[in-house]
Point group: C2
Chain length 410, copies 2
């Protein structure tokens, strides 16, 4: 295997034209699109248009004239196509945390005889924090039951479980739950299923309708390339949309602009909106989603698998005996679009990599996380990244004092 | 009074240079900045910088390098200066609805022996809807008690009242509560005070600290000129910041990037954050807030009062016997920065005005709402607006069929 082989793979790559649709800094190998997706070239122009023309010129009239009022549903339905949801079940809105709160609240209301939320200790923390906050708020014996690994799920499912909340692709390890089988098992126990698709949407093929998922949430700023802190999304299966949401803001009202004194919830997915959406943030998100919709999810997954395998092969051959351990499942079918390596010096190693132009993520305490975003990651990037990693490890570049200082990281 | 007198007022206006800082469509008289503030000239450039340089080039590193991680507190403290809050008590975050939810939840937790939320029937509906949603979620005898007018407040205050939630400037009438006296009366009854400052922040001088307010929320897209659906703000007086929030997302954690399994709330105002903030939306908001901070709030209020008086004087003289009734308090000291007129044909009248280039708001069922935003509204605009109104009324232009069709409005 040589770099030329990677160049050949890039030439043959059917997704190759997409890279040109992104602004990427020259010389940087960005393997962190699972933390913050790259900037689509079209975004700045779209933002300028929304700002200068729609806001600046059309002003308040834009809510109707330029379709601002429907933007959460419009972008939501587009995201729905990426996650296998028929129209009318997905909205772009709020943050993932807020959407988790909506979904968990609704699930508990739908299952009044059950008081347990099951999740995973290694779930992304904000999901757990929100469950904690909801439970503390509700009182009355609600409980968060955490499992340590997928094998523990069946034993955790009993008649007290109202809802199971799992992140489909683990943020740290990249481990992938079997979405359909898990949903089925959870339903078999009479519980509802809430999927966090933050590291899945736009990264792996998804079929939430077919799987019978009850609720799903996800993130707009990772694989959807919606920009820093982009609005999140919420999927509520049609059969549950009648449920009550405590975040009953005016955008979820049946007639928001009638200014009625009493809350009269909208029918359908609109009920799951709360406050006024940020049109600027939504518009940037829409550009990212539109771009992704032009690609084939099957091709994206195939390229992601190939890049992950290539990365592992190169690490195995070029970083042998460097103390790097695979912290992701070894079976490609059980991984999302990322590879995690563990090393007790993960922090300075990642700092050294970033300084050498390879951007991944550190995840406490000891994980190096590399995300592969097939829309814009080239096979050559994978080659070059491992070459840098190998140099950082073999020359122990990470020992330099400037890489030791620990700062707040994202 | 002639148009020349208005031109003279504009020439002498100390706030005159600010108009040049806004992009305003030629020929349009925009009296709707209390619904959606106009576009500051600096916003598009700032958004382009955040997008192209910070997101596009610095990518994930921007959370530290470009200060993204502190943006809710940084912008919050700036808004704090506009509302009379010392630093460390205000964040820009989420929507007004979500922030109302946080504040009401906290207030009820702080007052466990009391179960009543008092508000006003004419409050902005989303505040009431959120109170309804929270009460329905909590069960246990919580109750929303609505008063019809300020005079009814004393009688509504008894030992069962946990919190009083009022909008300082009424969205429909512009009527202004006495913030300090009302807060004092509410405290006298042992209740907490939550102010909605959506129509106040940036419009009237505010002193929430001095008044002893407990919580306040407000809107970024009206007088703060933060853009459509801009992030809202939340003020939590320092003495209450230890309270529990059910929306305990990772940005409110003491160490968000340590990825701890358990929720450990941040000290101070950071606890009141929830999910990842939209950096694009926050950056646009910051431009609007910065611009407002350059102006003197006393000068803004003085100009607003003068423009409102001028408007009323001109309406009285030029629209006599047209059936327009003042729907705002006649005492200027008891009004925010808007004038409302009622007329049973308010809908087609406003449509006709908009078609003639004067943009105000219709508010069901019969209100014409005109907002005065002294940063960019000229005295001449007030003159010209009334001239158009007078023509629409006297020539009954509003009777034309094209102004009769009722659409969704904002």
């Amino acid at each position: 295997m040589k770099r030329e082989d990677c160049e050949a793979l890039d030439r043959e790559d059917p997704l190759r034209p997409f890279r040109e649709q992104f602004e990427l800094p020259a010389g940087l190998i960005y393997l962190d699109g699972n933390s913050l997706g790259a900037l689509p070239r079209a975004t700045a122009a779209r933002l300028a248009e929304v700002t200068r023309r729609e806001w600046g010129q059309d002003l308040i009239g834009s809510w109707n004239r330029n379709g601002w009022v429907d933007i959460p549903q419009r972008v939501g339905d587009k995201i729905g196509r990426l996650i296998g949801a028929a129209p009318g079940q997905t909205v772009a809105a709020d943050s993932t945390s807020i959407n988790v709160y909506k979904a968990l609240s609704a699930a508990l209301k739908l299952q009044p005889q059950r008081r347990v939320i099951v999740s995973e200790r290694g779930n992304f923390p904000t999901d757990l924090y929100i469950a904690e906050g909801l439970i503390a708020q509700l009182g009355g014996g609600y409980q968060l039951r955490l499992i340590d690994s997928p094998e523990d799920l069946p034993a955790a499912l009993d008649a007290s479980v109202a809802v199971v909340m799992l992140t489909h692709v683990n943020y740290r390890s990249g481990r992938l739950w079997d979405l359909a089988a898990t949903t089925q098992a959870v339903h078999g126990a009479g519980a509802l299923m809430l999927w966090d698709l933050a590291h899945s949407a736009g990264a792996v093929p998804l079929a939430v309708d077919d799987a019978g998922a009850d609720f799903a949430v996800g993130c707009g700023y990772k694989y959807l390339n919606g920009g820093p802190g982009a609005p999140a999304f919420l999927y509520v299966a049609q059969r549950h949309q009648h449920a009550a949401t405590p975040l009953s803001g005016w955008f979820g009202h049946a007639a928001p602009f009638a200014f009625e004194t009493g809350y009269r919830p909208a029918e359908g997915i609109a009920r799951w909106l709360c406050g006024t959406p940020s049109v600027l943030a939504m518009s940037a998100l829409e550009v990212g989603v539109d771009l992704l919709l032009e690609a084939s999810m099957a091709q994206l997954r195939a390229k992601s698998l190939r890049q992950c395998e290539l990365f592992l092969f190169l690490v195995a051959s070029q970083c042998k005996d460097c103390g790097l351990q695979l912290a992701s499942p070894s079976d490609a079918a059980r991984r999302g679009s990322q590879i995690c390596l563990s090393h007790e010096q993960a922090w300075p190693i990642m700092q050294a990599l970033i300084a050498q132009g390879v951007v991944g993520d550190f995840r406490a305490p000891d994980v190096l996380r590399f995300g592969f975003t097939p829309l814009y990651t080239r096979y050559c990037d994978v080659w070059d990244a491992v070459a840098v990693l190998s140099r950082v490890m073999r020359q122990e570049i990470w020992r330099r004092p400037e890489y030791q200082t620990r700062l707040v990281v994202t």
